[in-house]
């Protein structure tokens, strides 16, 4: 039950923060800029402010609704007041934009916008009614959120068996916490990636309009890019791939705009986008390097000219942009350096195939990736869900518009150079460069969700390339591209209609049940065999402490319950003594394990380590089996 007071705090904090973000957007843009650019900046500033506030207030140990709301009032109000000389109302620009849309009489665009509205609404409904369904959420994206909220702060290290939580970048978890802390309930925990999806659309339109594409046409292709199935599937999750991709593309766009215009405020905007990007993955510095490298490689003369025009201003803006990026995403690296002596903290198994992860394996990983590419982009290996196992989720957009854009990239850049239009060359080269960079060291069954920036950039590049090649809207490729774009939007919206990673026949029961029953254990496909999780979710009253067999990927989110009041206690592997051999070993609880359970008053012990692996049976008279994998320890509560 979410109280009115909680809703009031939630709405107040977000409204004030949005007002502050709008002031930042006005300060970083000019009155003549198109509306979509201002919307992108407002969205980025909103998420940036929320990120900094949760981190700052959390590190200060005051991560509770009232202190956080007070911090939001101070930050939003302070920015609104401090930047008031640049502020301008949003409505006139919005009205102008809506009038231009209504006046263009474009039926194809109108249908695309209707599909967008349906998609946005259906994603919001899913976020509200269904729990997170991707297993990464259960092991390392969301448990920190529950732990932070319970502790009322963000400590340097969190207890638990999933070690990566303590050295990974948790920028998305900060946003998940922002949308959870006021309500005291994770019902909107998946909202941040949905907001990133919304930001993706004006990002595309702004880039295309800057590349000389008419606004209405730009909006259609911006939508086609946002409807790449991988983006749609990620938009309702607590993952970070969509945020990573959108912030990367926005950062590249602002860097490119700086090179073209020499406006130092573009650098600050790029710093904001790439700073957020840094906070989402340990590999994000690669994104920043590729973004900067692409602009340096393709715009050296313009960068030099911008520098010569105002060297002092450009230098200060560069330093300020670096500072902004560091504040937004640098904390995790600084903490890793301080705690573990290296920026990346621990070692992540990024390069997956057969455990190869060294430089010597680079060539074979690249070969494997290139060999798989066509099969992956055909998407024929599996159904589409947010995990994107064995498929890319790049959709028909990339297979048709994207491939065409890649084929046209070089001719468009050459032909358009005379007219000052190069077919969105910088974002496209940056996306291709980043994909190839990942291809050289990273191979996994699910990797293509990380590369979703590639189809988006390619789809966006098509109208810009057509523009550079002087193909008008009425030309054959112009008309066909619009038709294909609409067909792809509709096809993608239909293809992601199923609730991926769910147990289909339980969706209705889950939605129709009381709010507290809308938990992963009742609807997640991953939990269909986990009797222990379902028993705990449905039949155990209160918020008991649950001990679990500690594993590097243990799922613990479900133990916190719908109100995030439960407690998860990791039993370290060294205390799990397995006896017997062959296919059926059993666990003999050690005295230390029993002592831990007594100390934590954990009456329940779950012997299923992570996912749908078979639980290890416990052979001890003090442990009573309730359902397979779940034991009641008599010694814990006496």
């Amino acid at each position: 039950m979410i109280t009115l007071e909680s809703w009031f705090l939630f709405l107040l904090a977000n409204s004030v923060l949005l007002a502050g973000a709008n002031a930042v957007a006005c300060a970083l843009s000019r009155p003549g800029d198109i509306l979509s650019e201002r919307l992108v900046l407002t969205g980025l500033a909103w998420l940036a402010l929320a990120t900094v506030l949760v981190l700052g207030v959390g590190l200060a140990g005051m991560l509770r609704p009232y202190p956080l709301c007070a911090a939001a009032l101070l930050a939003g109000g302070g920015l609104g007041f401090g930047l008031r000389r640049w502020s301008r109302p949003l409505w006139p620009e919005t009205r102008q934009g809506l009038a231009a849309f209504a006046g263009c009489g474009d039926a194809v665009l109108a249908v695309a916008v209707l599909v967008f509205l349906f998609q946005a609404l259906s994603t919001l409904v899913r976020i509200w009614y269904l729990p997170p369904l991707v297993w990464d959420s259960y092991s390392y994206h969301l448990p920190p959120v529950a732990q932070w909220l319970q502790l009322g702060g963000i400590p340097l290290e969190l207890p638990g068996s999933v070690a990566r939580i303590n050295f990974q970048t948790l920028g998305m978890s900060l946003l998940n916490a922002w949308f959870t802390v006021f309500l005291g309930n994770p019902v909107l925990v998946e909202l941040p990636q949905f907001l990133w999806w919304l930001i993706l659309i004006p990002t595309g339109q702004a880039l295309l309009v800057r590349a000389g594409v008419a606004p209405a046409r730009a909006l259609l292709f911006a939508l086609a890019g946002a409807f790449v199935p991988a983006c749609l599937l990620q938009s309702g999750t607590t993952q970070d791939h969509l945020a990573l991709g959108v912030s990367f593309l926005a950062g590249v766009g602002f860097l490119d705009a700086f090179a073209k215009e020499g406006n130092p405020r573009r650098l600050l905007a790029a710093g904001m986008a790439l700073g957020l990007c840094l906070g989402y993955k340990l590999s994000a510095p690669l994104h920043v390097l590729v973004a900067a490298g692409s602009v340096l490689a393709l715009r050296p003369r313009r960068l030099l000219a911008a520098w010569r025009r105002a060297p002092r201003s450009a230098a200060w803006s560069g330093v300020a942009a670096f500072g902004v990026a560091l504040v937004l995403g640098g904390w995790w690296y600084i903490k890793n350096l301080a705690l573990y002596g290296r920026l990346q903290g621990g070692v992540l198994a990024l390069a997956g195939k057969r455990g190869e992860n060294d430089m010597a394996a680079g060539a074979s990983i690249l070969a494997a990736n290139l060999g798989d590419f066509l099969a992956r982009i055909s998407d024929t290996g599996n159904l589409l869900d947010a995990d994107l196992a064995a498929v890319s989720g790049f959709g028909p957009q990339f297979a048709s518009l994207g491939i065409a854009a890649l084929a046209l990239a070089v001719p468009a850049a050459l032909a358009g150079r005379r007219r000052g239009r190069d077919g969105l060359a910088v974002p496209l080269v940056a996306a291709m460069g980043l994909t190839l960079a990942y291809f050289s060291f990273y191979y996994s069954n699910n990797q293509y969700r990380l590369f979703l920036f590639l189809p988006v950039a390619a789809v966006w590049a098509l109208p810009a390339s057509l523009e550079a090649l002087d193909f008008s809207l009425a030309s054959a490729p112009g008309r066909v591209a619009r038709g294909v774009a609409l067909a792809c939007i509709v096809w993608s919206a239909v293809a992601v209609l199923p609730v991926g990673l769910s147990m289909p026949h339980l969706v209705r029961a889950c939605v129709a049940g009381p709010p507290e029953s809308r938990v992963a254990a009742n609807v997640s496909r991953y939990m269909y065999r986990l009797a222990a999780q379902r028993f705990l979710a449905n039949a155990v009253p209160g918020n008991p402490a649950v001990a679990y067999a500690g594993h590097r990927d243990s799922w613990t989110w479900q133990y916190y319950g719908a109100g995030l009041a439960g407690r998860a206690v990791a039993v370290p592997r060294r205390l799990l003594r397995l006896e017997g051999s062959g296919p059926d070993p059993h666990l003999a609880p050690s005295p230390e394990m029993k002592s831990l359970l007594r100390r934590e008053r954990a009456a329940f012990y779950v012997s299923t380590p992570t996912d749908n692996r078979a639980p290890a049976p416990v052979a001890d008279p003090e442990f009573l089996e309730i359902v397979p994998g779940l034991y009641y320890y008599k010694g814990a509560v006496r």
């Binding site: 998407d379 159904l383 028909p396 518009l401 054959a476 239909v494 289909p504 269909y528 449905n538 509560v637």
Partner: protein, 150 residues
């Protein structure tokens, strides 16, 4: 020349989109099936066979969070059945050859049945060894949660 290239480009895009969609007929079909066949219909009833089946069948109330029909674990909300079993002389009822009933108490004070194991838990009935201990635990746990949780 430009017109020819434009036509080739247009045909190429349309063909590629069509080929992709033709290669992936399962996606839109699954979308339809998902909502019409599965999520759009009632969850399947539990399949109950064997000794005691008629009695169990008769008491199965609308499911709270059922598992895949007859194969996986089911949670069924059936307080009447629990009472009936507690009164019966036989403590063991086999369901589906391997399913089990367990009566526990939820925070709303309503017993639930849990199917999917190989024995019957009748928690309120004495003389069942471990089951009686479990019953004691549930009473204690329920009382603790009513006082505000452990």
């Amino acid at each position: 020349m430009k017109r020819l290239l434009g036509s080739l480009l247009a045909v190429g895009m349309a063909v590629l989109a069509a080929v992709y969609m033709a290669a992936n007929p399962d996606k839109p079909v699954w979308a339809l099936k998902f909502w019409v066949t599965y999520a759009g219909s009632e969850a399947p009833d539990t399949v109950v066979l064997g000794q005691g089946a008629e009695r169990v069948q008769a008491y199965l109330a609308p499911t709270m969070c059922p598992g895949p029909g007859g194969r996986e674990m089911h949670f069924v909300h059936a307080p009447e059945l629990a009472r009936s079993l507690a009164l019966s002389s036989s403590a063991q009822v086999e369901l589906s050859g391997r399913a089990v009933i367990a009566e526990v108490h939820s925070d709303r004070g309503v017993p639930y049945l849990i199917l999917g194991n190989s024995t019957v838990y009748v928690l309120e009935q004495d003389g069942l060894g471990e089951r009686a201990e479990l019953a004691a635990f549930w009473r204690k746990h329920t009382a603790a949660s009513e006082r505000g949780g452990q």
